[in-house]
């Protein structure tokens, strides 16, 4: 299995890939900056599974956490957060 690119705690940004068709990265999180919470494991790529392919080799999947104030204008100054599972190819290192 390939080595995961990101360690927990790493600052990452969600890429805005021009994927057409099925994907599991919601629009609201594109371009947002968060931190790797944990590696969930390696899973077949759903973008390929959706068209009958095997989606292999499995892709690292990370739970990534974002401050809510980063995502929604006017959310407020609470410490509230949002976490979602994102596949590695949708992430790039962010400036710290």
């Amino acid at each position: 299995m390939a080595k995961p690119a990101f360690k927990p705690g790493t600052a990452v940004r969600v890429r805005d890939l021009p994927v057409k068709g099925h994907m599991r990265t919601p629009g609201y999180i594109r371009g947002r900056r968060g931190r790797i919470e944990v590696l969930q494991g390696f899973f077949p790529n759903p973008e390929q599974l959706a068209y009958g392919a095997k989606g292999l080799p499995p892709v690292p999947l990370y739970l990534v956490r974002f401050p809510q104030s980063e995502i929604w204008p006017g959310y407020g100054s609470t410490g509230d957060s949002l976490a979602l599972d994102i596949f590695e190819h949708w992430l790039e290192p962010a400036e710290t």
Partner: protein
């Protein structure tokens, strides 16, 4: 391929808010037609369908509640649950092997809320079928962007110093919230504790029930 439908009264007597008259007869006929064709072609049997329905009927939030009650009662179990929820569920006879189950522990400073904005992913293996509202647009849209307002609609208000963490189930993991153990429950055994753990507290829209 179009669905030819006409406005019939809702034959089931259940309310679909906002949908008005609900054409069920055409849809049900379509389901019957497809099912009978699949049976004829040997792809499913009527018996298999019946057994699968029964299997899902037996899946209720009581399974999730047992997991939570065990975690409240036994810190070593809780640690195992947080490390590997699939294995911990299996200790109680609950098979979640089709997905990666993840337990999210609430603390006095951290409260989790689970949603699937893209479809309706839900930890069915421990909670059974999701409620209709979980799968509907309002919850899926607003749980991520206005979670405190959504919680207030459920009668749940968190102090501002508590971090509200919304978890959007976008991929292969399914999430089970471990609600805070209610005050005053210290003397209760596991079976009694399990009665305090509601489905809504394991989704995160509510707290566990206080003991009587």
């Amino acid at each position: 391929m179009t669905h030819d439908h006409h406005h019939d009264d809702d034959a089931h007597g259940h309310v679909h808010p906002g949908k008005g008259d609900h054409p069920t007869h055409a849809w049900e006929r379509r389901e019957a037609a497809i099912r009978s064709l699949l049976i004829e072609k040997g792809l499913v049997t009527a018996e298999e369908i019946r057994r699968k329905i029964e299997e899902w009927e037996q899946k209720t939030p009581a399974d999730g509640a047992r997991i939570v009650a065990r975690a409240w009662s036994d810190p070593a179990y809780e640690a195992r649950l947080l490390a590997d929820a699939n294995a911990a569920a299996l200790e109680l006879g609950i098979d979640s092997s089709a997905v990666k189950l993840v337990a999210l522990k609430n603390t006095p400073r951290l409260h989790h809320l689970v949603v699937c904005t893209l479809c309706s992913c839900y930890p069915r293996t421990v909670l059974g079928l999701p409620p209709a509202w979980y799968k509907a647009k309002a919850y899926r849209s607003r749980a991520v962007s206005e979670p405190r307002r959504v919680l207030a609609e459920f009668g749940t208000v968190l102090p501002p110093e508590v971090e509200l963490r919304v978890v959007d189930s976008t991929a292969d993991c399914r999430y089970l919230v471990l609600p805070l153990r209610p005050a005053g429950s210290e003397s209760l055994d596991e079976a009694a504790l399990a009665t305090l753990v509601t489905r809504d507290s394991m989704i995160g829209v509510a707290l566990a029930t206080a003991p009587a």
